[in-house]
C-alpha cells in the first residue's frame, strides 16, 4: 500500500487559493464556519480515512460481501464505519441545524467525499448512499416520515439506498414495472423486482431503507406515472415493534470492481405483504429523484477523481523508489540504475495522471461552489444554471479520463501494476463503474447537448463561456501565461463553432444526427473546461511565485505550472481532432445498420 492517497496541500490550494471558498462564510447560512473549522473538518476526515478506511481498502476487495441464507454479510469495517460516521455527524454534516447537521457548504462536503473515496470507495458507499436517501426524505418526506427515519439513518443505525433500476428499466426509467397499490390504510402494497441496488442489503446495520420508484396502479404510462416510496426492510407495526416487510435480497452481483459494496437484487411483495410509504405527491417520483440527481452525479465525479488520485500517488511512490535503467546519455552499463521517475516517459505518464486528477478535482470544486452560491447567493439563478450545465461534465470527465489515468498508473508499475501485490489494479477495476452508474456517459451526453446547452435559451451555456473568457482575460495580463490564454481562446472559439454547427442540425429537425455524437461533444466539453480549470490554477500559482514563498511552496507551484503546461501541450490539442469529428457530416453511426455487424 502506498503511504499517501490524497494531498492536503493540493486540497487547500484549490479550496482557498484558487476558489476562495472561505468567502462562503460571509453568507448567513454558513456564518458559524470559518477557515479554521473547514481545516479541522478536513484534517479529521483525512485521519478517519487514514486510520479507519484505507487499511481495509484491499481487504474488502479480496473479501467481498457474501450472500448467505438471504442475508448479505459485509466486512466488519462497514459496521464500524457506519457507527463512527453516525456518531461523528459525518452522514448529515451538510444538513441544516433543523436536521441535526452542521450546515457545511456543499463544496466542503464534496471534499470530504473526495477524501473518503480516495481512502476506500466501497466503504464510503454505505454512509454516502444513506446520506442521499435521507436527503430525499428531508426534501420531500412528511413530518411523520422525517421523525420515523431520519434519526436512525443519520446516526448510522439504518442504511439508505436508491432503488431505481429494474431488469427491463435501466437508463430508460420510464419503463419501470414495480407496482404500488393503495390500501387506503396509509401505505401501499409494493410488488416487483429491483436490480443493481448498491448496499441494498447488509448485516452491518439494523435496517435498510430503500427510496424506491414504483408505479401506482392506474397511473399514466411513462415518466409521468412514477412515484417515490419509502420501502424499509423492516417496518414498524402498530405497537411500534419491528417486523419483516416482505422485502428480500434475492442475490448479489459478482462484479469487476467496487467489490466491497454489494449490488443487490431485491424482490418486493413475494407474499403480498410489502408496505411502501408514498413520499410527497403521487406521480412526482422521478422529478423528486432528479432533484437529488445533481448531487449524486457530482459525487460520482468526485469519487472517480478520488480513485484516480489514489492510484496516481501509488504510481508516484513506486516511480520514486523503483530503480531501473539508466539515462539515455549514460553509456556505462555498470553505472548505478536510476529511479524510474527520472525517465521522461514515466514523467509523462505521471504528468498525465496529475493533469487529469487535479483538473477533475478542480472542476468538481468549481461546480460545488456554484451549487453553494446558488443556494445562498444573490445571483442564485446564474449559479444554478452554470452548475446545471457543468454537472454532466463533472460526472463524466473524471469517470472516463480516470479510467485512462488509473491505466497509466498501472503502466508506471510495469508488470507489478498488473499484480495484486500493488493497489493500482484495484483502482483500475474500481473506477470502471463510474461511467455507468447514476446515468451512463451516453445519458450525460444527451443531457448536455440535448438539454443543458439550449435550456433557458442557451443562457447557461453563455454564462459558462463568459466565465471562461473572464479567466482568459486574467491570464492575458500575466506575461508567462499569455500564450496559454491564446490557446484557450482558440479552443473556445472552436468549441463555439462546433456547438453552432450542431444546434443548426437541431433547428433543421435532424435530431438523430444532432445527438449521434453527443458523447464526442461531451468529451470535447470536458477537455475545454478542464483546460479552463488548469488556467485558473496556473494564474494562482504564477501569482504566488511572485510573492516570496517557502522552498516547499515554490516546488509546489512550479509543479502546478509544469502540469498545466503538460495539459496544454498534450491534452488541449485534442479539441481540434474532436471538432473535426463533430463537424464531419458523414453520419456513419446512423447509416450503419445493425445487420451490417453480422459476419
Amino acid at each position: 500500500m502506498a503511504d499517501k492517497f490524497v494531498s492536503k496541500r493540493n486540497l487547500k490550494f484549490l479550496l482557498y487559493e484558487v476558489f476562495g471558498v472561505d468567502e462562503l462564510i460571509e453568507y448567513e447560512y454558513f456564518q458559524d464556519h470559518s477557515r479554521e473549522t473547514f481545516d479541522m473538518i478536513i484534517d479529521t476526515a483525512i485521519k478517519i480515512g487514514t486510520d479507519l478506511m484505507y487499511p481495509v481498502f484491499q481487504e474488502m476487495d479480496a473479501d467481498p460481501p457474501q450472500y448467505m441464507d438471504g442475508i448479505v454479510k459485509t466486512h466488519p469495517a462497514v459496521r464500524t464505519t457506519m457507527s463512527e460516521f453516525g456518531q461523528g455527524g459525518w452522514i448529515n454534516a451538510n444538513q441544516s441545524y433543523e436536521y441535526g447537521g452542521q450546515q457545511i457548504p456543499t463544496v466542503i462536503q464534496n471534499v470530504l467525499q473526495f477524501i473518503f473515496c480516495a481512502a476506500n470507495y466501497s466503504l464510503n458507499a454505505y454512509p454516502g448512499l444513506t446520506r442521499g436517501a435521507a436527503n430525499l426524505i428531508v426534501h420531500f418526506g412528511s413530518q411523520e416520515q422525517k421523525d420515523q427515519y431520519l434519526e436512525k439513518m443519520f446516526s448510522g443505525h439504518w442504511q439508505g439506498t436508491m432503488a431505481l433500476t429494474e431488469p427491463d428499466a435501466g437508463s430508460s426509467l420510464a419503463d419501470i414495472r414495480t407496482s404500488a397499490e393503495d390500501t387506503g390504510l396509509g401505505y401501499y402494497k409494493i410488488k416487483g423486482t429491483k436490480i443493481f441496488i448498491s448496499a441494498g442489503d447488509t448485516d452491518a446495520v439494523d435496517n435498510t431503507i430503500h427510496m424506491m420508484l414504483a408505479r401506482i396502479k392506474g397511473a399514466p404510462a411513462g415518466v409521468k406515472g412514477i412515484s417515490l416510496f419509502i420501502v424499509p426492510k423492516y417496518r414498524s407495526n402498530k405497537n411500534g415493534e419491528s417486523e419483516f416487510n416482505d422485502l428480500t435480497c434475492a442475490g448479489i452481483e459478482h462484479k469487476l470492481g467496487y467489490k466491497g459494496s454489494p449490488i443487490c437484487q431485491l424482490a418486493m411483495g413475494e407474499n403480498g405483504d410489502c408496505h411502501g410509504y408514498l413520499v410527497g405527491e403521487p406521480n412526482k417520483g422521478l422529478s423528486y429523484m432528479f432533484h437529488m440527481m445533481n448531487e449524486k452525479r457530482v459525487a460520482v465525479g468526485i469519487g472517480a477523481a478520488a480513485k484516480a488520485t489514489a492510484a496516481y500517488y501509488a504510481a508516484l511512490e513506486y516511480a520514486q523508489q523503483r530503480l531501473q535503467g539508466r539515462k539515455v546519455s549514460e553509456k556505462d552499463p555498470l553505472s548505478a540504475q536510476i529511479p524510474i521517475i527520472e525517465h521522461a516517459d514515466v514523467k509523462r505518464m505521471l504528468l498525465f495522471q496529475r493533469a487529469v486528477c487535479e483538473g477533475s478535482l478542480s472542476l468538481a470544486i468549481q461546480a460545488a461552489k456554484y451549487l453553494d452560491l446558488a443556494s445562498v447567493g444573490e445571483e442564485a439563478e446564474k449559479y444554478d444554471l452554470m452548475s446545471d450545465l457543468l454537472i454532466p461534465i463533472v460526472k463524466t470527465y473524471p469517470s472516463e479520463m480516470g479510467i485512462l489515468s488509473t491505466s497509466s498508473a498501472i503502466q508506471c508499475l510495469g508488470g507489478y501494476g498488473f499484480c495484486r501485490d500493488f493497489p493500482v489494479e484495484q483502482y483500475y477495476r474500481d473506477i470502471r463503474i463510474d461511467t455507468l452508474h447514476e446515468g451512463t456517459t451516453g445519458i450525460q451526453a444527451k443531457d448536455l447537448l440535448g438539454r443543458k446547452v439550449t435550456m433557458k435559451g442557451g443562457k447557461a451555456y453563455q454564462l459558462v463561456i463568459e466565465e471562461i473568457s473572464i479567466t482568459i482575460g486574467q491570464a492575458e495580463v500575466i506575461p508567462d501565461l499569455k500564450e496559454y490564454a491564446a490557446k484557450l481562446t482558440k479552443a473556445l472559439d472552436v468549441f463555439k463553432e462546433v456547438t453552432d454547427c450542431l444546434l443548426e442540425l437541431k433547428q433543421q429537425g435532424d435530431l438523430e444526427k444532432f445527438e449521434a455524437d453527443a458523447a464526442i461533444y461531451l468529451e470535447m466539453a470536458g477537455v475545454l473546461v478542464v483546460a479552463w480549470q488548469w488556467l485558473m490554477q496556473a494564474i494562482t500559482a504564477a501569482k504566488a511565485l511572485t510573492s516570496g514563498v517557502s522552498e516547499s511552496d515554490t516546488n509546489f507551484y512550479h509543479g502546478k505550472l509544469y502540469t498545466f503546461k503538460y495539459y496544454y501541450k498534450y491534452e488541449l490539442p485534442k479539441i481540434e481532432g474532436l471538432a473535426a469529428v463533430l463537424k464531419n457530416s458523414d453520419a456513419i453511426t446512423i447509416k450503419m445498420n445493425p445487420e451490417l455487424f453480422l459476419d
Binding site: D3, K8, R9, D32, H33, S34, E36, T37, M40, I41, D43, T44, K47, I48, T50, E84, Q87, G88, G89, W90, A93, G101, Q102, I104, S550, E551, S552, D553, F556
Partner: protein, 249 residues
C-alpha cells in the same frame, strides 16, 4: 474536580522530516497533537463522561500554531483551553517551568499528559512539572480509577504491570494503550470554535540545554544478494553472519 491535560504540538508522525542548515525544515509539515498526549485528552474526557471530574482543561505551551492542538482537544470534548506563548526552541526545563506556572494558577486535581513526545522523545516534562509543583507522579498508566481524593492507576512495569495509588493532586502520564482517542465529531468541531481559550506569556526561564544540530539517521543500506548453489549460498551467508555482522550464537 478538575483535570488539566498538557498537550504538545508535534510533527505528524507520517511527515517526511528534512533538515536544512542543521535544523528541522518545518515549512509545509503537518502538525498534530502529540499522539501520547491525545490519549491523555481522551482519558480526561472519559473521566468527565463518568462524572468523576467536572471540567477538562487543556494546556499547551508554544507558538500560535499550538492553538490548533488546543482546538483539536476542544473538538474532542475538552471544555476550555490555555495557550502559554513560548518560543518553540524552549527546552524541557523552560517548558516545564512555563507549564507548571500555569498549572499552579489553575490548581487542578489531576494533571494528565502523554508520557513522551513523539518528536524529541525526551520523556521529561511531566516529571519536571511534578517536581516543580511538589506533586507525586505516576508514569505510563494504562488504567485509572478515581475515588475519595485518590487515583489508583495500573501502570506498565518491565513487561508486567503494577498498581499504584496516589493522593490527589498528582501528575499522571499516560501510555498509548490506555485508550483509543476519539475522532473529533462534526458537532465537536463546531463547538470548539466557541469554547474559551485564554492566552498568556510564559514564565521567564532560560534553556539549560542547547541543541547544537540535528542529524538524520543513516540511510538504509542496500541488502546483499547471494546467488550460487544452495550449499555455497549457505556457507557464504554463515560466513557473512559470523565475520561481517558478527552475530554471536
Amino acid at each position: 474536580m478538575k483535570v488539566l491535560v498538557c498537550v504538545k504540538q508535534t510533527f505528524d508522525t507520517e511527515a517526511k522530516i528534512e533538515l536544512k542548515d542543521g535544523k528541522i525544515a518545518d515549512a509545509g509539515i503537518n502538525l498534530i497533537i502529540n499522539p501520547y498526549d491525545e490519549v491523555a485528552v481522551e482519558g480526561g474526557i472519559q473521566l468527565k463522561e463518568k462524572k468523576v471530574v467536572d471540567e477538562v482543561v487543556v494546556l499547551s505551551a508554544g507558538s500560535d500554531k499550538a492553538m490548533d492542538a488546543i482546538r483539536t482537544a476542544l473538538a474532542m470534548g475538552a471544555d476550555r483551553g490555555i495557550l502559554i506563548k513560548q518560543d518553540t526552541g524552549a527546552d524541557e526545563y523552560a517548558r516545564a517551568i512555563a507549564l507548571a506556572a500555569a498549572i499552579k494558577e489553575e490548581n487542578p486535581d489531576i494533571i494528565l499528559a502523554g508520557h513522551v513526545a513523539a518528536d524529541d522523545g525526551s520523556s521529561q516534562v511531566p516529571t519536571r512539572i511534578a517536581e516543580i509543583l511538589g506533586l507525586p507522579h505516576i508514569n505510563v498508566i494504562t488504567e485509572i480509577e478515581v475515588a475519595d481524593g485518590k487515583a489508583t492507576c495500573t501502570c506498565e512495569a518491565d513487561g508486567g504491570t503494577l498498581v499504584a495509588e496516589v493522593v490527589l493532586p498528582a501528575v499522571i502520564s499516560s501510555q498509548v494503550s490506555w485508550n483509543e482517542p476519539r475522532y473529533p465529531s462534526m458537532k465537536g468541531i463546531m463547538q470548539a470554535k466557541k469554547k474559551p481559550v485564554t492566552t498568556a506569556d510564559a514564565a521567564a526561564a532560560d534553556n539549560k540545554v542547547t541543541i547544537i544540530e540535528f542529524a538524520m539517521p543513516p540511510a538504509k543500506q542496500a541488502g546483499i544478494k547471494v546467488e550460487d548453489d544452495p550449499e555455497v549460498c549457505a556457507a557464504k551467508l554463515a560466513d557473512w553472519m559470523k565475520n561481517t555482522v558478527k552475530i554471536e550464537v
